[in-house]
């Protein structure tokens, strides 16, 4: 219970930090003004990364995924998984500065699906799809040590404490909500919120706002005691992998042979992702379970509608995140982005664009309509996840021995070290 309070405290702190620190991205030091004929050099836009190097990234991703899957499933080596994590942090993190990443690629794919004028880069699509394929084949080996965000948290997870199983379940809904929000904002062409609020990319680039450094620091400090807090309770890509991994073809096992129920691995998993043996005699009365199951199944459409209705109330609020909606509002209320007497850059840009207010307002009306529909879908999706979670907590799952929970297991291979059974012994 005490640990649960720590987690709640951490989450509240993170939310508070989001609210408390305004982003200060203003360039406070203007260019000097020369009076003696000095011509300011033109601003140079860096050229894009070579296509060949982008394909190299994809090759590295496939190689790393293949290797780590091999280390987990065949070599059953935690050490090799750990060193792969170190490599990922160095390559995908510090060298590639956290971009392109599979988590953020959700937004590229979404934008490509909803906006005809956006063409998704092939590498972004591959970074999105390849880990999904590997997960379908081998479980969440991507999370184990290829994702630089997960790998970084895994490395700092020095004193992980288990948390209450029920709390793990409750907090498990947040990645789905975050996923829904990210899709909503990407589908409307508003923002890539996953990237904007990536708590670790600032460390990889050694460049971020003070707020994001603070949030990232909080996550890492919390990560020392609560294993992978971002992966478990926020990561939207993790939500996708959570679903796909349930159907994985060849998931890792704790024991290479038959489980002898020695219980040595019982507390090995810092993520609480080990299914303990459940005896048939623990099962509730079938009548009770069936009644509850039917009741919840009936309730699911109500959850979906309620969620949709509630979220639709926030559609205008969500829409105001959109820069065009924000611009129209600032122009309408003449509030000038709170800039006082000096005209805001956004307004200057709009005036020089030649677009009329009517055109802007019509565009904004379309965006707001999209948000209204999107908010219903987001709320409905959240209600559905909520309902399905409740149903899954009703179904009795029989486990005769210790096995990884395919949905939540990050395939980090820690538990394998605890298993006394060696391949071919039994």
């Amino acid at each position: 219970m005490k640990k649960s309070i720590y987690i709640l405290f951490f989450i509240l702190s993170a939310i508070f930090a989001f609210q408390s620190f305004p982003v200060n991205a203003e360039n406070r030091f203007p260019k000097p003004e020369f009076e003696q004929g000095h011509i300011q050099p033109e601003t140079i836009t860096p050229s894009p990364r070579l296509l060949l190097l982008e394909y190299l990234d994809v090759a590295v991703l496939i190689t790393a995924l293949s290797l780590i899957s091999y280390f987990i499933l065949k070599k059953r080596s935690r050490k090799l998984v750990f060193w792969t994590s170190v490599f990922s942090v160095l390559y995908f993190g510090f060298y590639r500065e956290g971009c392109v990443c599979s988590i953020g690629a959700i937004q590229n794919v979404t934008l490509a699906l909803f906006k005809d004028d956006y063409h998704i880069p092939l590498t972004a699509f591959l970074f999105f799809i390849i880990p999904l394929i590997y997960t379908l084949l081998f479980g969440r080996t991507f999370c184990a040590g290829i994702c630089p965000l997960g790998a970084l948290q895994d490395i700092v997870g020095l004193k992980p404490m288990p948390i209450e199983a029920w709390l793990e379940k409750v907090l498990g809904i947040f990645p789905f909500i975050y996923l829904g929000l990210a899709v909503l904002f990407a589908a409307t062409g508003t923002d890539f919120v996953i990237c904007r609020y990536d708590p670790f990319v600032g460390f990889f680039r050694l460049d971020a706002s003070f707020t994001m450094f603070m949030i990232g620091g909080l996550f890492l400090i919390a990560g020392v005691f609560i294993a992978r807090p971002y992966c478990r309770f926020l990561c939207p890509y993790g939500a996708l992998l959570n679903i796909i991994s349930r159907f994985s073809f060849k998931h890792m096992t704790i024991t290479p042979e038959t489980c002898i129920n020695c219980r040595l691995c019982e507390n090995a998993c810092p993520y609480g992702a080990i299914n303990m043996p459940v005896q048939l005699k623990e099962k509730e009365k079938t009548e009770t379970v069936v009644r509850r199951y039917i009741l919840l199944s009936i309730m699911v459409p109500i959850f979906i509608f309620t969620g949709g209705f509630l979220a639709s109330n926030f559609s205008s609020g969500f829409a105001h995140v959109n820069p065009k909606v924000k611009l129209a509002k600032e122009l309408k209320n003449n509030t000038n982005y709170g800039m006082g007497e000096k005209e805001a850059l956004e307004i200057t840009a709009f005036r020089s664009s030649g677009q009329s207010m009517d055109e802007l307002n019509l565009e904004v009306a379309k965006i707001e309509k999209e948000f209204y529909l999107g908010s219903w879908i987001l709320g409905g999706f959240t209600g559905l996840v909520f309902g399905l979670m409740l149903i899954s907590l009703t179904v009795f799952k029989y486990h005769p021995d210790y096995s990884p929970n395919k949905a939540t297991c990050h395939s980090c291979a820690r538990c394998m070290e605890f298993c006394p059974v060696k391949p071919g012994v039994l």
């Binding site: 623990e282 309620t306 979220a311 109330n313 209320n333 003449n334 904004v364």
Partner: protein, 598 residues
């Protein structure tokens, strides 16, 4: 022997020492980086007092080369300091990263050396069903909490949420075109004066209860615009302080545009966003005009059909004496015969109706004011005076409070006393305060008499009421209002007074202006501008703008001593109060509307 073992401390091994040192090092670097961040944020290197003083000196003597060199050196120094600071942050970042990496490595090494003893709890707990039950319980509680929080939050923020910007676009095709005055349905009006015709009934049906924080009044949007006669709250205060002080109507200097107003009206301009609004009327027509703030072009004019005959009016008031009001969505206009209408910013009539032809001389002339979702109308007449709040969306009466007062032509003001918001209304026999939410009279005090024309001034908890042939009274507002001081040397029958925290300015219609101490009533100065004044003075920053009837704007400092800043002339007669927005002044003069500024 055992005791000795306990006392003996095991020395740190190499990795533990490294862990400790790197941990302390990282912590120190982290603290220094955070301190550096705050230091940089606080400093504004190119806007220091010294540099600004030097630049100011240079502006006085631009030929001073030594000073020029000194400024350059100073500027270079500031820039060097800035970039050094930037380098320090970057280098500090690398140091912190290195420190943390070493710390983690040491921690891993320490951990690797520890023997992992497996602890097994006996006996095996049957926790499966219990865990599932707990998870179901907490998930349900969490979901319920989330839903309730969302519902409460949605309810609280409903006004903002129900304010889609696209409302502007709903009639986007109508924009920039003239609305055919005849297109407005005159048969919308019901002969029953208590009924209102709502053009869009669907919109009216969907009106929901709005929630807002009363103490937000006046809102930032109101302050950024000029939504009412005499500005937000109608107390003669402009929240913008960058108005021009010099122009000339004859040569056109600093006159951005000038546009003829189709119909006459004694009302003053109001501004919201890119629009300036006026009304105009004669015996047969009543119109509302929307001007493009940047070009002066009339974007639309909307006819407000006459529902009944207009009363007899004098030339000094006309049929459109009351200024319009806006809330950023609609513009509201009222005319001499009590016809009232709401028109959206695209020129489309939302609702219209008639308040009943006022039983008083000169017709209705009290200007309108908006309090969130309520349109406040002061309807003082010989018999049956009342103060009412109409629903801005539908025009339906939300509350109507009878007033035992005589006819008046003053306008209501809304003031935020810090603890509550009050509507202050002046008419014979005195000043009354009303709760804008319910219309309940909060307090009243006898302080005036006669046919009251001027509206009140308010500052720092003191309201000032003045009327010709009566007196000037300073009233401490509150449940137990008290008259702080009185004076009857300089009284006004048309212009309203205006006040800052320390000074009260009373303009008389014969051209004299008196300045008083707000708390004691001590007279500081009197100045005769030698021209009649009907326009009300406005406080703009530290200046007072006062237009005389000949079209000369007298700009003087709001100070203890009379200091004239400028007297720019427009060259046309003006009895209207100017509006201020975005560094521009909007003045109705003659048959024109002027925009002054860039």
């Amino acid at each position: 022997m055992i005791k000795e073992d306990k006392k003996t401390k095991r020395p740190f091994d190499l990795w533990e020492s490294i862990f400790l040192v790197s941990g302390v090092f990282s912590f120190v670097v982290c603290v220094l980086l955070i301190a550096n961040y705050f230091q940089i944020n606080r400093a504004d290197p190119v806007n220091t007092k010294v540099l600004n003083a030097l630049i100011e000196r240079l502006e006085q003597d631009e030929s001073d080369q030594a000073l020029r060199t000194e400024i350059r050196e100073f500027d270079l120094l500031a820039r060097k300091a800035y970039f050094t600071n930037q380098w320090q942050i970057r280098f500090g970042g690398y140091l912190l990263l290195a420190g943390v990496l070493v710390c983690i490595l040491a921690a891993l090494m320490i951990d690797a050396k520890k023997t992992k003893v497996k602890e097994i709890e006996l006996p095996v707990k049957k926790t499966y069903v219990l865990t599932q039950r707990n998870a179901r319980k907490w998930l349900s509680a969490g979901g319920l909490m989330l839903a309730v929080t969302a519902m409460v939050f949605a309810y609280i923020t409903h006004k903002n949420m129900e304010d889609p910007v696209s409302g502007e676009a709903s009639t986007g095709n109508d924009r920039n075109t003239f609305v055919d005055p005849e297109s407005n349905r005159s048969d919308d009006l019901s002969p029953d004066t208590t009924q209102f015709a709502v053009a869009d009934t669907a919109k009216a049906d969907t009106v929901k209860k709005l929630v807002f924080n009363p103490l937000d009044y006046p809102t930032a949007a109101m302050k950024n615009n000029f939504p009412t006669f005499r500005g937000a709250g109608a107390i003669g205060l402009s929240h913008k302080n960058n108005a021009p002080v010099s122009w000339d109507g004859a040569s056109g200097r600093n006159i951005k545009w000038k546009t003829a107003v189709p119909l006459p009206g004694m009302n003053s301009p109001i501004v919201w966003g890119n629009f300036v609004f006026l009304t105009g009327a004669n015996e047969v027509k009543q119109e509302v005009y929307c001007f493009n703030k940047n070009t002066g072009k009339i974007i639309w004019k909307t006819n407000v059909p006459k529902s009944t005959q207009s009363p007899k009016v004098s030339d000094d008031t006309g049929h459109a004496a009351a200024s319009a009001a806006t809330d950023g969505e609609n513009v509201y206009a009222v005319f001499s015969n009590g016809d009232i209408a709401a028109i959206d910013h695209a020129g489309k009539m939302i609702w219209s109706g008639n308040l009943g032809v006022p039983d008083k001389s000169y017709g209705h002339s009290s200007s309108l004011i908006v309090y969130f979702d309520k349109l406040i109308v002061q309807y003082d007449q010989k018999k049956g005076s009342n103060l009412m709040a109409l629903d801005t969306k539908t025009g339906k009466t939300i509350w109507s409070t009878p007033r035992k007062v005589k006819s008046s032509w003053s306008s209501p003001s809304i003031v935020n006393t810090g603890s509550r918001v009050e509507i202050l209304v002046l008419a014979d026999p005195g000043l009354s305060s009303y709760d804008p939410a319910t219309g309940k009279q909060l307090w009243s005090i006898n302080c005036t008499s006669g046919e009251v024309g001027p509206s009140i001034a308010y500052a720092n908890g003191i309201a000032f009421a003045v009327n010709e042939y009566a007196k000037l009274a300073a009233i401490k507002v509150g449940d137990q209002p008290t008259i702080l001081w009185e004076n009857n040397d300089y009284l006004s029958d048309v212009p309203s007074p205006v006040a800052t925290k320390d000074f009260l300015f009373v303009a008389t219609s014969y051209g004299e202006v008196a300045c008083y101490n707000t708390k004691s009533g001590e007279e500081y100065w009197v100045h005769d501008f030698e021209a009649g004044i009907y326009s009300s003075p406005m406080i703009v920053g530290k200046l007072v703008y006062l237009m005389d009837r000949k079209g000369t704007m007298h700009i003087f400092k709001a100070e203890k001593k009379f200091t004239l800043v400028g007297e720019p002339m427009l060259g046309e007669k003006s009895d209207y109060t100017p509006a201020f927005a975005d560094g521009q002044v909007f003045i109705r003069a003659g048959n024109n509307l002027y925009c002054i500024g860039k």
